[in-house]
Amino acid sequence: MKKILAQANKEWMQLRRDRLLLALGVLMPLVLLFLYGTSQSLQLRNVPVAAYDYDNSVLSRAYIETYGAAITFRLVPHDPQKSPESTLLYGDARAVLIIPANFDRDVRRGSHPRVQLLIDGTDANTGTVLKNMARSLNASFLKKNNLTQPSPVLVRLEPRLWFNPGLSNAIYFGTGALAMVLALFPALLGALSVAREYELGNIIQAYASSLSGFQWIVGKSIPYIILGFVELVICFALGMLIFDYHIPTDPSVLLVATFFYLVAGIFYGMLFGNATGTQSAAIQGVQMGAFLLALLLSGYLFPVRNIPDSFRWISYTLPATHYIVVVRNCLLRDAEWNIMLRPITALAVLSAIFFALNMLQVRKMQFKG
């Protein structure tokens, strides 16, 4: 125990001397939390659409106005010399609405005019959404202009969205952001502290001392766990200001989950530090695992459920996936222990696995040394 504390103390001294590191440790999480929490959006908004009105009648303008009124679209002017295709090709608009000549006359005399919407399919998701949106805007135009009989509503759906009724971006991404921020820093520090020992050659001293691998690993991680909790407090305070965080009725769930999450992150980072022995490679490992993989596969941006079965196991090996579940449930519905047991167990198991891998590496090294 004493040895562990001594190792922790040494680590802390090293950390404290690095002013830049500490400044980054306090400032960057705040900036990143803000960025992660506010830059992404669930709803598609302000998609630039150009309207080519070859009819120029009251009715055709009314049709275009349904697009102007929808929050999804933003009407943009276009060069009348350019063809609709080239407007799309040049990227001036992401969709082009074309209203044929004689639109108004055709409506009045009972033939069925066809309006065309050209969609830029570069972003396939947006393309799908725009396609559906066009259909419902068309339906609303028909209804407004009395071109359709009110269909007898046979079944009326009453959707209730529990826990986030407004589907608020701030709540959704704000909670995910906490997990993203806490994934980055502890993992990074762990990776750096280990890799540095290898680069400077100090690791030999650790081997030569009476310190066991277990004591070395645990001692090294303690200061970073504490730092992680400090980060949690700072980020939580910011979250209460801008993302409507509130302290859950049973904070122990969140605290225990955070503990395992931090531990898993630090051990994951140390794993890379041990394996590569160079700081730049360790950072890149963390960059891939804790940033890119976590950003895209943890459920922060895209639901984990969407990922095909053959790739979903990757999500489940990321601590961030489980931690996001805990954070969202704790902050939105005050989840209690019995419900959150599964993700927390997963976090504990993951940290145990990362720890065991660290032990294995250290043992192998010591034998070699």
């Binding site: 799908t128 986030n164 730049s280 895209l296």
Partner: protein
Amino acid sequence: MSDFLRRYWALTVKEVQQLMRNRGLLIQLLIPPTVVLIVFGYALNPEVRHLRMGVVDQSMTPQSRAFVDSLTENESFDVSQRFLSAKDAEAALNRLQLEMFIVIPTQFARDLRAGQPANLQLVIDAVDANTAQISRGYMQQGMMWALSHYNSWNGLDPLVRPGAVSIDSTVLYNPGLVTPWYYVTGIMAVLMFINGSLVASALAVKEKETGTIEQLLMTPAQTAEMLLAKTTPVFVLLMLVLMLALTVSVLVFDLPFRGSFVLFVVSGMFAALAGIGIGVTLATVSKSQQQAQLLTFFVNPPLTLLSGMGSPIDNMPWYFQKISIVNPLRYLVQIIRGVTIKDMPFNALWPDLAALVAFSIILFAISAWRFRKQ
């Protein structure tokens, strides 16, 4: 001039030799792009399938069962559990065993027969707001479908009046709406920047840390030559990474290449320069390799998030849209998408290319200036 070339060549050879000895660096530069591209290309999918739905059928009639059947006909919803009361379903939702449940009231069949609208309650767990939003949309579509079925059973025709307008949506460039194309092109660009800045900052500080920088300063080489020689091998490697990423995307995901290859290569070169410039600049302001890498590590997430690689820039709050104007990565993403998925002509892409060139020159100039100052 020949002196310059001679010195430049000698320094470059030295850098290449140093780099070749650093196997780890080579591996970390070349392997991740391939793996990352394939994983993300396959894994990112907007379709939600097999959502766990609970059913509280209080009506217990052929009509209600037919209705549930028609909802679950596609793969979006699975009826995972049936409940006798809404209370039980609520409890299951709270235990995370369900994503949603529907409540079919007792008078469902009676209302239908009487020609009155029957009410259905749908409760969705919106803790994961993204899934909730998608499943609500699916449910509404499923309802429309079930409704049209019901109408055709009863001999009711679609209710359009003469003169009704219809809409034809045509998707250009990607008519099959293949999702991976969007992500692989975005990730390709991100990899150039992340790798470029990380490796360059590592290399630039290394001399300072090992103390060999004094030896370098004593040689007749100018700082500009030193910097050029230092970045040449990294630059070549980055271009290799870009070609590798493009090959993987084309072979694995059938990414089309419709535009100008020259434009692709040229913008890739300037992006590599910009990435290296960021790395070297950050390296010169920091004292150790660790600090340099940390700084790059924190510069990269904002660059990535505000580049439009994952979600469109139009969709961001206005202040982020303004900030993204000074993000060089944004322009690379636009150009790569413009020449692969679309066939954007040069006079549509030149503003992006000009911005990229400007940024790379500015960043590289700053890095040269900072490099000289030390």
